[in-house]
Symmetry: C2
Subunit: 326 residues, 2 copies
């Protein structure tokens, strides 16, 4: 089952599964921001989602489908933070123990929140250790279920409910979206959303946005095979530092996306400021890349109606203060 | 008509009037914040409202009712900023010219936004000049309609749609609110909301929250007459510096509110930080007073389900950075 590509029906099924558990975030529009951009923008703030990012959606969808005889071993996940919180919160709601493998340099707010959802945490060195190997070992020891961050059909389907809601909410407003831009780490959010949008709003082009230096999905889509990031790359977008696309996510994204874009740290900082000023939303660096792509002209929205996903808001106070300083 | 008290029917009529113009802001809940507080909290983020505060609701309701033969003269308003933006945006949508009298020390973001909605601005000295006298003179010169910030039945009814939505959204979630706490300047928001809640959710107690030193509504409710603030008071809550309650608003609030609370600047700063961390929402100082009342124990919510209004998010970047520093 883990190597089966999900489809739009799986996304719809996930939407039923998470109903009343995840929040249906609004689709916001701010006329002053439209004016500044020069085109119409609709904003999906997953910053307001349970756990402060979209990750809860996929985690709940996946964990709720663990067969009863396998629930006792609980779940194990590896994550820089947002997936950790999503898994911890979903496991807590469903009554399963959760153990999370996190990098030792994960933002403090993400570590603290993960812990407060009752999860056990094991730290690893992001530059020296292999988190997947650590997680696999723990899974075997505990007879637990590994909840992958993106390369799992039920995770992809769960994240895709963001795109499904965008399509439904835009339709309710009589809006046809020309494009939707989504942050992209491993590609689950953009891939799942593309599945839903291809089905519900086929005229909408979907783009993945990555940080400069972490554009593995963009390059892999062009190359037609999974490429890793170049070593030594750095970015302020801690949520989007995955080293290569998933197997399933790349298959979906190569087929359904209109393209991949990438943005600089400076553009991300500017986007965080614009979200502060016009949207009154706290957005973490990785959550702001789609907005950054519009502001920096990586995507030209003139004459179009564009939707973006603000994927998360879990940013430390000091990092945020610094972003507002520039 | 201007001295007639509005009622719950006027609030319902205002809700129809602003439908599709103002946003229906969500009613948010964050489990981690509930855990920290020790009770259940529902949050109404009017920070996400058109113009970044609830003020658009009342302004649109009022301006849309100006008779056709009086529309040509446009509207005049005096305001420290949020009412200014609400009036400017509503007038622009309805095609009426707007002139706003603003204090020369109003936050830059509020001045810039008011201007960007096409309004003309006249500045005055908050400590030396009488803004009402200036506005009255301009009204006479231009044959314009004065749009008062709170002491007008259609303004109160418009702001009351916040309370109406809270009642409706809580009911849809099967939640009975024991109390709703609202920021209070002149008393239009809390008064209008109290009208709606008394009708739709009579078991819900409504409280006004003011900054320390600006608790004119709380003291006036106790005294049974309109009392002014003591001279020399200062507060970081620029949106809540009205010197005395309105005539209509005090009549409503004295009859319907369960009480008035007041909070310190420190409590407000802490509330802004908590809104950042748990809610991922940018809240301006005056918008955070209801949350501050809960965090500082001015209102003890233990064993209760409490709703609060975050009334606005129009705060300058530097002020916000400073609030996050503490």
């Amino acid at each position: 089952m883990l190597d089966t590509l999900p489809n739009a029906t799986d996304v719809r099924s996930a939407a039923l599964r998470i109903e009343g558990k995840a929040y249906k975030t609004p689709l916001l529009e701010v006329p002053l921001l439209n004016e500044r951009l020069g085109f119409r923008l609709l904003v999906k703030p997953e910053t307001l989602q349970r756990t402060g990012s979209f990750k809860f959606r996929g985690a709940y969808n996946r964990i709720s489908r663990i067969p009863e005889d396998q629930q006792k071993g609980g779940v194990v996940a590896f994550s820089s933070g947002n997936h950790a919180q999503g898994v911890a919160a979903a496991a807590q709601m469903l009554g399963l123990p959760a153990l999370i493998v996190m990098p030792s340099d994960a933002p403090a707010i993400k570590v603290a929140n993960t812990r407060s959802y009752g999860a056990e945490i094991v730290f690893y060195d992001r530059f020296g250790e292999d988190r997947e190997a650590i997680a696999e070992k723990l899974v075997a020891e505990r007879k637990a279920t590994l909840v992958r961050p993106f390369d799992d059909p039920m995770i992809i389907a769960g994240q895709g409910t963001v795109g499904l809601e965008i399509a439904q909410q835009a339709r309710a407003l009589d809006i046809t979206l020309d494009a939707v831009l989504s942050p992209c780490g491993g590609g689950g959010l953009v891939g799942g959303s593309a599945l839903a949008l291809a089905s519900e709003s086929p005229q909408t082009e979907v783009y993945a946005v990555e940080p400069d230096g972490f554009d593995d999905t963009a390059r892999s889509m062009v190359a037609g095979e999974r490429l890793s990031i170049e070593p030594g790359a750095t970015s302020i977008c801690d949520a989007l530092l995955s080293p290569e696309p998933g197997n399933l996510t790349l298959q979906i994204n190569a087929r359904l996306l209109a393209g991949g874009l990438s943005v600089s740290d400076d553009a991300v900082t500017q986007a965080m400021q614009i979200a502060f000023k016009y949207l009154k939303l706290v957005v973490e660096p990785g959550g702001a890349v789609a907005l950054a792509a519009l502001l920096s002209g990586q995507y030209d929205g003139h004459g179009k109606t564009v939707g973006i996903i603000l994927s998360g808001g879990n940013v430390d106070q000091e990092v945020y203060r610094k972003a507002l300083e520039a």
